[in-house]
Each structure stands twice: as C-alpha cells, then as structure tokens.
C-alpha cells in the first residue's frame, strides 16, 4: 500500500471538458415544491388562503422559468451517444403512467363491483353525447399532431406550426368540455364528495384531464420556439408520443366511466 501516487496514469489535462451545469432542474423542482405541496398544505391543512397564494406566487414563476430554460437548452442539446434521442425515455415513462391509471381503474372496479346498487344514490343522469364529442375532439387532435410531425420531417416549419396550433385548439376544446361538464354536474349537486361513483368519476376524469393539460403545456413549450423558427424534432416526437398515449387512455376512461 505504498507509493500510491505513482499509479495515476491519467494526467488531469486529459479532461478536455468542464463540469456541466444547468439551473433549469433545481428551479423547476422548487417551482413544483411551492406550487403543489406548500400551497396545497397552506390552503387545505392550515386554512390560510393568503399563504397559499404567496406560495403559488413563488412557485409559478420558478416553474415557468425552469421549464423555459430547460426547453431552450433542450433545443441545442446533443445526446451522449449516436442514436439516443431525447424521446427515448418517454416509452419507459409511459409504462409508469399505465400503472397509475391501472391503480385508479382497479379502485373503481373494486368500488363498483362491491356495491349493492350502481350508480349509487345521488348520481344524476349522464348524457352520452358529451363524451362522444370529446372522443371525436381528442382523436382528431391525435391525427393533427401526427400531420404536424410529418410536415416538420419534410422541413415545412410553417405547416408544422399551423397543425400544432390546430392540435392545441382541439385539446383546449376538450378541456373546455370537461369544465362545462363539471360545472353542469356541480349544479346538480354531483361533486367529488357526493358518493362512491362521484369519487371515482372526478378522480379518473380529472386525472386524465390533468394529462391533457400537461400535453397542452408541452405543445406550448415547443410552439413558442417554433414561432421563432427553432425546432427540435426529438422534442416534437416526444410530445407527440405522449399525446397519443393520452388519447388512448381516454378510450379506457370513456368506456369504463360513461359507457358501462
């Protein structure tokens, strides 16, 4: 165990590069930290709306800054190895998403199949037309983002922008329908705390809607640089895969919640 310093074969000068840094991740984390756990706890646990607003006020700008910085760095990011695209992680992430939806559905099935009467008392009539319209909206948005992706592949940035905008619009309309539906149901006193069905209904549709919202945010995040002519096809592919996933999940949500 002697003369160990002599065994270093790699002089420090061999390291050509510097330590990589980015301010985006930590900013985004603490944005989330203030926006969700802190603001929620302030409002619901400690009954302090003022504190909740302050926390959200800290969280939102931090999160927006983090995401914007992240996307702008991502535009020029070079993967460590040929063939590794920024969207390579997405299919893996979606496995995780599938299981969270499975857990929610398993819960729904447990509640429903163990109930004596279904739907339980207090559930109003659910019109079938609205979910049909929502299905059409979401399916067509999956088509439009795909066309947009093709346009980008052929170098048509302007065409890509238009189809992306159309997708955003369709997704926005979908969310609009959700808001309309929730308001309509609330008028009939059907809120999350009404009964076992309302519990499952708002949780599952709400969780899906939150995915739509995240998808729309991701569209905005690639649209803004695209307006300035900057695009990154890996990011677009990633957002698009995610959107198709959200679309497919909707079939399960609609069939289980509305048409069963």
């Amino acid at each position: 165990m002697t003369a160990m310093s002599a065994t270093n074969h790699h002089p420090a000068t061999a390291h050509a590069h510097h330590w990589e840094v980015s301010v985006a991740p930590i900013a985004a984390v603490f944005g989330v930290f203030f926006l969700v756990p802190m603001a929620f706890s302030a409002y619901f646990v400690y009954n302090s709306p003022l504190l909740a607003i302050i926390f959200a006020g800290i969280g939102v700008p931090l999160l927006l800054f983090g995401v914007a910085k992240w996307v702008s760095e991502g535009m020029v990011y070079k993967p460590l190895m040929e063939g590794l695209s920024s969207s390579a992680g997405l299919p893996v992430f979606i496995v995780s998403e599938i299981f969270i939806f499975l857990a929610l559905f398993a819960t729904y099935w447990t509640l429903r199949l163990s109930a004596d009467v279904w739907p339980p008392a207090g559930t109003p009539h659910m019109p079938a037309l609205l979910p049909l319209i929502m299905t059409v909206l979401l399916v067509s948005s999956s088509v439009t983002i795909h066309i947009g992706e093709e346009k980008l592949e052929h170098g048509d940035v302007a065409g890509f922008r238009s189809w992306l905008l159309l997708t955003l619009l369709l997704g926005g309309l979908f969310l609009g329908c959700t808001v309309y539906e929730y308001a309509h149901l609330a008028e009939q006193n059907f809120v999350p705390s009404t009964n076992a069905f309302s519990t499952a209904f708002f949780s599952i549709t709400g969780f899906h809607a939150s995915h739509v919202l995240v998808g729309l945010a991701a569209f905005v995040a690639v649209l803004v640089p695209a307006l300035g002519g900057r695009t990154n096809k890996y990011l677009v592919t990633g957002v698009s895969i995610y959107w198709h996933f959200v679309d497919i999940v909707w079939f399960f949500v609609a069939s289980q919640i509305y048409f069963w």
């Binding site: 985004a28 190895m81 519990t199």
Partner: protein, 544 residues
C-alpha cells in the same frame, strides 16, 4: 487525482447546478446520511422510551407516534432507497458500463432536487403544528381522521416517487443505450443488473403507491370516499394498494444491496462471480414474483383461505431466487483469496445479517405461524435484520469500497475497524432480544407495556444496543468526513479490481469520467481474475 480537485477548487455553483452523475451521487449521499442521522435519533428516542414499562420521556403517545412516523418513513424512503438507487447507482453505474454520464443529465439533477424537496417537507413536520403521526404506512381510517398533517406524508411520497420514476427512466435508457462497445448484457456487473431490476420495480409499482396516497389526500381534504365503507368505499383497498408497492420496495432495497456485495466479494476475493447467469436469472425471477406476494401483509386482516394459501406459496417461492443469489455469493467466496479490509468486513457481516433476516422470514411467510407472530417484536426484529441491518450495512460496504474512487483517499483505518465492530455488536444486541420477547408475545410499536414486566430486562439490552450502535455510527461518519479530506492517498485501482470504474478512470473521475472512450475486448469481464492457488496475490497490487 486530488490535484484536479485542488486545481479546479471548490465551486458551490458547480455543485448546486450540477448535472454530472458523480456529483449528483454525492448529493444523494449527503442527503441520505442526513436522513439516517435524524431517523437514527428517532430510533434512539423510541428505544429510550421502551427501556422500561411506563412513561420515560413522553407524557402521551402523540409525540411517540411522530417519532415512529419519521423513523420509518425517513429510513426507508430517504435513507435506504436514495442511498442505494440514488447515491450508489448514480456514482457507480455509469462508470461500470463505460458511459460518460447518464442518458438525461438534467432529469437526473431534477430527481436529486425532488429528493431534497421531499426531505424538506419531512423535516418541516418538526416545526409545523400537527406533524404527521401515521407511521410510514398511513393506513386509513386513522390517517384520514387524525388531526395530524397527512398531506405532508402524501407529498413526501409523491416527490420521492416522482424522483424515483424519473431515475428509473434515466437509468434504464442509460443501460440500454450507453454501454461502451464490448460491454454486452451478460458482461454487466451484477450491481448494474440489480440496479436495473430495482428501477424496473420502481417504475411499475411506485405509480400504484402514488395513486393510493393521492386517494388518501382526497379522502382527507376533498371529502371523497375511497376508503370510507359507510359511503361504499373499501378500507382494505388502501392496504392492498399500499403493499402492492411496498412489498416490492423491499426488493428495490434488497437487490442493489446484494449487488454491492457481489462487487466487493468478487474484488476482495479476486474471484469470478459463481454462477453469474443463474444469479442474473434469479434477479429477474425476484422481479417477476415480487408483484404477487403483497397480500401476505394482510394475513390477519381477513381474507378467504384460497388467497391466503396462494399467497403463502408465492411468498415461499421467492426464497428460490433469493437462495440462488445467496449460492452465487457464497460460491464467489469459495477458493477465493480474500483480503479483509473494512469493505470486506462489512460485506462478511452482511452475509451473516442476511442469513438471520432471511431465515426468520420463513416462519412469517407461513400463515399458521404468522397468526401467532403478527404484530409482535419478532416481526419488528426480522424486518430490521433485513432492512435496518443488512441493507444499511450494504450501503456502508459500498461507501467504504468506492471511497477511494470518490475521494482519491482510503477510509480504512483504526477508526473504521473499531466503528465496524461497535456497530456490529450494537445492532445484534438490539435485535436478538426482540426475537425472543416477540415469540413470547411482546407487541411491536408499544411505548408502554405494564402487562409485560417480564420483558423489561430484554428491553434494557435492546436499548443499550441502540446506544452502542449510535456510538459506532458516529465514529463511522466522523471517519468518512475525516478521510475524505485527510485520509491516506489511494491509487486509481487500490483493490486490484477488474471492473471498469477501477481500471479505466482516475480517482476521482473528472467531467466526462474517462480520459479516453472506453472500448473493451471480447474476453473482458468485470470479474476476470487469473486462476491461481489460494492466497497467491494480495488485494493491493499497485503498478510497481
């Protein structure tokens, strides 16, 4: 290589904003050791309270419940899982496969700061009114009805879960895409395999826990009825969802812990891994079975016999792959020329602790026995032998083993050996008495036990053991900090290992890890040592 560090100097910005996997690994280490310290303090308080029947430190159970909550949640979620899949996986895995970094360095930084955000929320529990008091399990209806802050528990789980899922995405893609040319699947270090398997478990099972605790949050704060039988909910549903993750979580800890042992034992014994392929298949066997055993946590909660017996079969079945892995570990020791340094001491201790923990698990798997033993100190002791002692000692093994790589210095020395023996004596003294009184009916978790005066002397022993362990832990951490700055300098490959992190990069590695792109030949293996009679070569074989 400490010259590199000295010449570049310490730059706080380069640490806080870092996206480098090694620095992120060190950040995880700092966070998880901090969690170990605070959660360890809680354990001391719990043991001091249980010293004798009656109240020792508290005037009512609420304070005690908060200690239990923090001890359990922090040890598992903030020390063991981040210590193994955060710190060790981050620091070592990319080096082992010859990669310059992980696939998504910024997502990696995102993960580590989510971990710290979770720790902040857990620590806030000490300063806000109504701290969480729901153990680490958070069972309803208590968790919904308590005045305690269940939201903090839920958000801690959310942040850590999100962190782990992103870690899983990152490391799975890293191992799939970033292996250096020549590093093929069946040449991967066992630690790489176990880490990948652990991340697959995280990826699939954490979402279910996240869903379960979210329902808890909604039930408590938004008035939903997931777990409220009066409104058509199902109170056992939570336990099912919770253990659907939390049983596999045992293997999220167990697998990388075993992976560390393989690395240390093979290197210190200068021996190939015995039955390498069988060990790899066994790892995946565990992943396949671990999702089908969770109901054994509900044996006494009421269920049809056919489920109970089915679960007993799957639970016992998991000892087959575990047995294969143990066979590989012991087989690696066979005819090895073992060097006993601190890492190897800890590794040897781990083999013993795992044996005790594993064997005491078998009676618990059997429904007829577990009806008697459920919720006694026997379960408590079994669980702590596997998680608290075996897995924690594996983390320490890893720290000692890779210490020269991380710092360019040895952490071996008198204090290291002394603190090892103090730890080893302390933990055994703490938990052996609990096995005995557990069989005789001592319930676990109680802070007062006036009906069991006959167990008092055993509790004395256990508490003294905890105090002794505290001294050992303190000595160990002091030793690490001291050695990081003033320890004996170490060469690039002080143990003479064949693994890439030792043979191809400096200690500590700089940005980009390897001075030249790694390419290995066809006959390369991280466990390839020349065949030689026992004891022919010592572990520390510097170049000259």
């Amino acid at each position: 290589m400490s010259d590199t560090m000295a010449s570049s100097g310490f730059n706080l910005k380069e640490w806080i904003f870092t996206t480098d996997h090694k620095r992120i690994g060190i950040l995880y280490l700092i966070g998880s050791i901090a969690a170990l310290a605070v959660a360890g303090l809680m354990a001391l308080l719990i043991r001091a309270e249980q010293f004798s029947p009656g109240m020792q430190l508290i005037s009512n159970g609420d304070t005690y419940n908060k200690w239990l909550y923090f001890h359990g949640a922090a040890m598992i979620l903030a020390f063991l899982i981040p210590g193994l899949t955060g710190f060790l996986a981050n620091y070592v895995l990319p080096l082992m496969i010859g990669a310059k970094d992980v696939a998504f360095p910024r997502i990696n930084a995102f993960s580590v700061w989510l971990f710290f955000a979770a720790i902040i929320i857990a620590l806030l529990g000490f300063v806000v009114p109504d701290a969480p008091d729901i153990m680490w399990t958070g069972y309803p209806p208590y968790s919904v009805k308590t005045p305690g802050n269940t939201a903090f528990y839920v958000f801690t789980v959310h942040l850590l879960g999100f962190s782990s899922i992103l870690g899983a995405v990152n490391f799975l893609v890293t191992v799939i895409y970033l292996r250096a040319p020549g590093v093929t699947w069946f040449k991967l270090n066992i630690f790489v395999w176990t880490t990948v398997a652990a991340f697959v478990i995280q990826l699939v099972f954490i979402p279910v826990l996240a869903a379960a605790v979210t329902m808890l949050l909604f039930d408590k704060y938004l008035g939903t009825h997931f777990f409220d039988p009066a409104q058509g909910g199902d109170v056992l549903l939570y336990q099912n969802l919770f253990w659907f993750y939390s049983h596999p979580a045992v293997y999220v800890i167990f697998l990388p812990a075993v992976g560390v042992l393989f690395e240390v034992i093979s290197t210190m014994g200068k021996n190939r891994v015995f039955n390498y392929k069988a060990a790899v298949y066994a790892i995946w066997g565990i992943v396949a079975i671990t999702g089908e055993v969770w109901v054994h946590h509900l044996y006494v909660a009421g269920m049809p016999d056919w489920i109970r017996i089915g679960q007993m079969v799957t639970t016992l079945l998991i000892s087959v792959p575990v047995g294969l892995i143990l066979l590989s570990l012991w087989g690696t020791l066979y005819r090895a020329s073992i060097t006993y340094n601190t890492a190897m001491l800890y590794a040897a201790a781990c083999l013993f602790l795992l044996l005790v923990g594993g064997l005491t698990g078998i009676p618990l798997a059997m429904t007829v026995v577990t009806v008697h033993l459920a919720a006694t100190a026997f379960v408590h002791a079994h669980f702590h032998f596997v998680m608290g002692l075996f897995a924690a000692f594996c983390v320490f093994t890893g720290v000692y083993y890779w210490f020269p790589k991380m710092t360019g210095r040895f952490a071996d020395g008198k204090l290291a050996t002394l603190s090892f023996w103090i730890n080893m004596i302390g933990v055994n003294l703490t938990f052996w008495p609990l096995f005995i009184i557990g069989v005789d009916g001592m319930p676990r978790r109680y802070y007062d036990y006036p009906q069991f005066p006959q167990f008092e002397s055993y509790h004395h022993l256990a508490t003294y053991g905890a105090y002794i362990t505290a001294v050992g832990m303190l000595g160990m951490i002091v030793n690490w900090v001291y050695s990081a700055f003033a320890g004996r300098k170490a060469p690039e490959n002080p143990w003479g290992s064949a693994s890439l992190e030792w043979t191809h990069c400096p200690s500590p590695p700089g940005p980009g890890n390897f001075p030249e792109d790694v390419v290995v030949s066809e006959d390369w293996s991280p466990y390839e040592y020349e065949n030689r009679p026992s004891g022919a070569r010592t572990a520390t074989a510097p170049a000259e």
